[in-house]
Symmetry: C2
């Protein structure tokens, strides 16, 4: 209940700096009075905060670049497209990827590589990832950007608030702390402090991306309460409540893939029976569609390739594949009906590789969901929560990671951006 | 993200008054320096806050009563056992109940009555409830207590932040705003402002009671993340995350009773199939145990009576009842496994009338839960979340309501307790 930083002068100033930066980042360019109005401070209260953020290079006067650095006095404020960048990385079962986004949220550099990570030890995977990180860091340095944080998306359970992958079954990783293997990539250099490292479940980062980037292009802003479902090899979900990720006591929330669908069904790798993954997981669908998972992977390697194969077959009218996808949609609808009854979200978002299968899984999914959330629907919900398809698709986790990596700057702008201002930087 | 009341002087003072009052209420008696240390303020900063709360009669010097009103200077502080009280009310299918708790959390008055509320219109039910409220208000007035708020527990969906019961199937209420029918009970009188009215789902209030009162008597404090399951006629659940109720976008979260368990099972009143209520709801269990629900109710009227009958039969070794309860436990375990995979709570608490059936439902419930949450268990959770039985049992919702009714005082101590201090009171 206590505000972060408490009610000390220092804490209040830090929060207000963060509010100004976030407001301009989300809604800028904005005039100073518009910023003041949006955060509920007086113009006189906002002026020194804006000046500090301008001096630190986090804000710029809009138009300054165009007019050779002068800007219109009292002109509009925007966040800088130089300065801090968030580094996002993704460890997939079949690929690695890294990207960097600036404070404006634009992707400034991006690399990806196919990689046979399944049952590969963390050491070699992290060495290869570190090389990709160095490539992206060099690329953005040429544009005046420096990394402010690194977030890594992994397909597995991550201990809450830690950098340890507790269990990533499809990588074969258990209790693997990623910090040592990424120490080279996060080390302090050139007078900058060491990079804060975040390790996070990919579905959670996909949901964060949806929250920040899901709107735009004429689409409505995503609601602050939704369940985000995605799939690569497994099925993952993330629960967003009031605009925040619900992480669970240990950080393991969102294991939709192991929600029981048909309790007497086949035994699952988790030890349970009839889990959602047994009906809607990638391997189950490939098998039900008459495609051997191994062959499909060999013929079409790379991220999202197996799912791409399913989509092509379905589009070509392969009835076994179409039926398998319909059945996957039914199972997803049953599991999601449980989630909706428990959580009452405003929307269910299909993201990750599932987005590309929406034409075939949505009808049966929506039918089950409507049937099984009728009490609430009947009571004013008008047909249950909206089901939408993410426009980010398989890019969600990587983009979400890069945005998450900017959090330290957005939460505490001057500590992160101006090491010379504070002796505390070196220890963060 | 913004602190309640913002960072104005007024907002900070209000928050600090609330912190002092909550700290003494939860941990008192405490000396002034101990209060200061616990809330992170200086002694000089705490002194005027304490003085204001003493003047308003919300705090007292411990020992003052015993020494004829003087108290030891600099002695320990406690919350008053006079002054504001929270009024809690419960509308059950078969009963009505009202109680009042003081700032110390002690029940100071309580009345209950059997009532045939099933399919009764709100008007007569609320008139009868108002009479019970008047009875309790008179009783506590004689002890120097005055109501500071009223919260009403109902077995149904309540619109978030409103006083409208959207759907209470077992009462037969739809879109029923309870405020007009309780206007007499909440009206301003004797110079006091009108009582703030809260209407809330009974399972949510049961969970709040568990959060505040579940510890003590040598039991550990409840964790801040748990799923609370209860039953009267229906099955309800409440989800507590970081010590806060998860309400859902519309306020309808926690509908565990309509989570699909066996998707091809019998049609449920909600329109779905194979919902948990079809296997673990009171009527389903009575029927499976060979007891006609109607006859059981007629033979043993009153709150919790049907469940009491089941417990007696099971204790007497009635094999049909024991088997029905085991099967209900299995179904509960399957539905809760879904909830645990999604939410990763630290505990599952059996509350309400279910608490009394724990000896017969727990073994099968725990077996399913352990089987179906194995990924997480295997990954450091040491056997999944703890399953506990509430010691509050069927009293939970009523006690939770009374505590919820004190929230306005605890959130904003002086506005609520000292109408003369502020012109804003009349409009709250």
């Amino acid at each position: 209940m206590t505000a972060p930083g408490g009610d000390t002068q220092h804490g209040i100033r830090r929060r207000n700096l963060a509010r100004v930066l976030r407001t301009v980042a989300a809604q800028g360019p904005l005039s100073r009075p518009a910023v003041a109005a949006r955060i509920g401070l007086t113009r006189a209260g906002v002026a020194p905060l804006v000046d500090e953020l301008l001096r630190a290079g986090l804000l710029v006067e809009a138009g300054r670049a165009a007019t050779g650095g002068r800007g219109r006095p009292g002109g509009e404020l925007a966040v800088s497209d130089r300065g801090p960048a968030g580094l996002g990385a993704e460890i997939g079962v079949d690929h690695l990827a890294v990207c960097a986004v600036d404070l404006r949220g634009r992707v400034r550099a991006r690399v990806a590589a196919e990689a046979a990570n399944r049952h590969s030890a963390p050491g070699p995977v992290l060495r290869r990832l570190s090389a990709l990180l160095a490539e992206v860091t060099d690329a953005i340095a040429a544009e005046g950007l420096r990394p402010a944080g690194l977030a890594v998306a992994v397909p597995g359970l991550v201990a809450r608030g830690a950098t340890t992958v507790v269990h990533a079954p499809n990588l074969g990783w258990r209790a693997a702390d990623l910090a040592p293997g990424l120490a080279g990539a996060t080390a302090a250099r050139d007078g900058s402090p060491a990079l804060p490292l975040t390790v996070e479940n990919e579905a959670n980062l996909g949901a964060l991306a949806e929250l920040r980037l899901g709107g735009g292009d004429g689409r409505p802003e995503p609601p602050p309460d939704f369940v985000h479902v995605s799939a690569e090899i497994g099925i993952g979900a993330a629960v967003v409540v009031d605009g925040q990720l619900l992480r669970g006591a240990r950080g393991f929330a969102g294991e939709l893939g192991h929600v029981p669908v048909y309790p007497d069904g086949p035994v699952c790798g988790c030890g349970g029976r009839g889990c959602l993954e047994q009906y809607a997981g990638e391997e189950a669908v490939l098998r039900a569609g008459g495609l051997a998972p191994g062959r499909a992977a060999a013929a079409h390697p790379g991220p999202g390739a197996r799912i791409g194969l399913l989509a092509r077959r379905a589009a070509d009218g392969d009835t076994a594949v179409v039926r398998a996808l319909q059945e996957a949609g039914t199972a997803l609808g049953i599991a999601l009906a449980g989630a909706v009854n428990l959580l009452d979200p405003r929307a269910v978002v299909l993201g990750g590789a599932l987005a590309g299968l929406a034409p075939w899984i949505l009808p049966s999914l929506e039918r089950e969901l409507a049937l099984r959330t009728a009490v609430a629907a009947d009571s004013g919900r008008a047909g249950g929560p909206v089901v939408t398809v993410s426009r980010l698709g398989a890019d969600g986790p990587l983009l979400g990671a890069a945005h998450a990596a900017l959090q330290t700057v957005l939460d505490d702008p001057l500590h992160s951006s101006a090491p010379a201002h504070s002796p505390r930087n070196g220890t963060r």
